[in-house]
Amino acid sequence: MIDTIAIVESNDELSPGYRLLVLSFGREVEARAGQFAMLKAAEVFEPLLRRALAIYRQPHPRRLSFLYQILGRGTQALSQLGPGSRVEALLPLGNEWPIDVRTGLAGVVVPSATVPNPDRNIVVAGGIGSASLLMLCEQLAKEGGETRLLFGAGNAAAARGCGLEDFAALGLPLTITTDDGSLGERGFVTEPLERLLREEDFSGAIIYSCGPWAMMSRVAEIADRYRLRCLVSLEAPMGCGFGVCVGCVVAVKTDGPPGYDSYKRVCVDGSIFSADRIEWKVNAMTHS
């Protein structure tokens, strides 16, 4: 984990409300699939807190890219940065997607009992949650097992903003849904997931997912029904990103009465969790 000043290489709009930020660092950074950074424009006094963004790609040992959606004041401030601007950055943060499941799901705090089949993977991306999944998909594509990619977004423009082209370029079998049907199937991305599991034999597959809370909760439900291992990367409002504010917690299942272990910090105990350990009903998000 380093706290440093990065320089904006580019910050281009991919689609209205979505941008790709490329940062260059004074030294090499080691970033793994699923990790994130806390970022903030260096000369901006308000908002105070840095914002969590998944590491989208690493085009160069000293360069990282981030894909983000402009929502509120923090992402708005980021969107105004031009090349050469300074960005305060803390990274890399959080655990990584446990890709090589043969060596155990290292880094994922709450292990599951189901037996995974490392050669069959389903990746379910919802909205800008895609940003956390590209490096995972790159590696899954390389590993050679069977990987299905389900990609949901609000509409065609949003799908483009969520990096659809980069995902499509990987050559993995891809199903697209949009809420309004402007691209791919109309409806939620959980529909093709259910269909896939109903119509094909995916026993033992691992589901990787990132997206809105409600979507991931539904994915977890489906995985549970089909007794599949499911990993999710969660979001939560973050104060610090490195474990000290205890503000970013999610409720997890515990055996005993409520105790210190009832809540896990998304930033250091995650952001990737085994879906079956999450108390989905205790809402971690303000905006879900």
Binding site: P47, G239, V244, C245, G247, P258, Y263, N283, A284, T286
Partner: protein, 308 residues
Amino acid sequence: MEARKHDPRLAVEIAGIKFNNPVMGASGTFGYGLEFAELIDLNGLGGFSTKGLSARPLPGNPPPRIVETHGGMLNAIGLQNVGARAFVEQKLPLLRRFDTRVIANVFGYSDDDYLEAIQILNDGEGIAAYELNISCPNVKEGGIVIGNSASASARLTQKAKRGSSRPLIVKLSPNVTDVSVLARAIAEAGADSLSLINTIVGTSIDVNTRRPRLSYGTGGLSGPAILPIAVRMVQEVARAVDLPLIGIGGIASTSDALEFILAGATAVQIGTANYYDPTVTTKVIQGLASYCDRYRLDAISSIRGLAS
């Protein structure tokens, strides 16, 4: 422990404890200290106050626990902590490697809870002092329920002082009409030092869901937004009591820290700013040294209270 490298002009003393400099991490924003070892040189830090420790581990409140506001944030963590015993056994041994002062922030739901936590901590080696958190606004018992009453605060202070093997710092609630009345009562009850301020009770409402943004309903406001209120309260307390004070509230820069010292604080704690600027403590320590250079001060403590 390279004592040489400390700037002697920055050394301060509180209740017999020597701090290498007046800059500390504030409770609840500095974890158990160890989380910062990768980011700053803990040996350079004056000290820090741990997350509030209770006799038994606590789960804390359900999420959402934090929300950002203009110039600050609201939190309702609800004192999730590993418990005093685990702190003594798991964290303290690691902390003893660093040349910095560890203050154990103590919390309980009742007087007995506080005393029990202190009892457990008394066994731990490497704690410089206790900070009695009677001002946490995010619990239904203990904390602010005690800290907003001068008599309840004095009563607990007296008991805690008796049960404690270490200097006792009492952390004041700002949610009162007259903080100097509170300060006087606690000083008379035997506190060795006072720290202030804890967070100010606030709330934030989501206008779309029409519900509070925090699961707890209300939370404690911290960050730069509250600095002017905190500096004023330090000034009031400095005029009212003769104890060393630790100024807290919204500090994010050297000049913020200096405002507290000029208002009467011997040392300061930095809270929320650690979240968005994890090396802020180091920067402020360097900044205080530069201030001494600039004004040719032999000791930073020589300007204490000058603005009063």
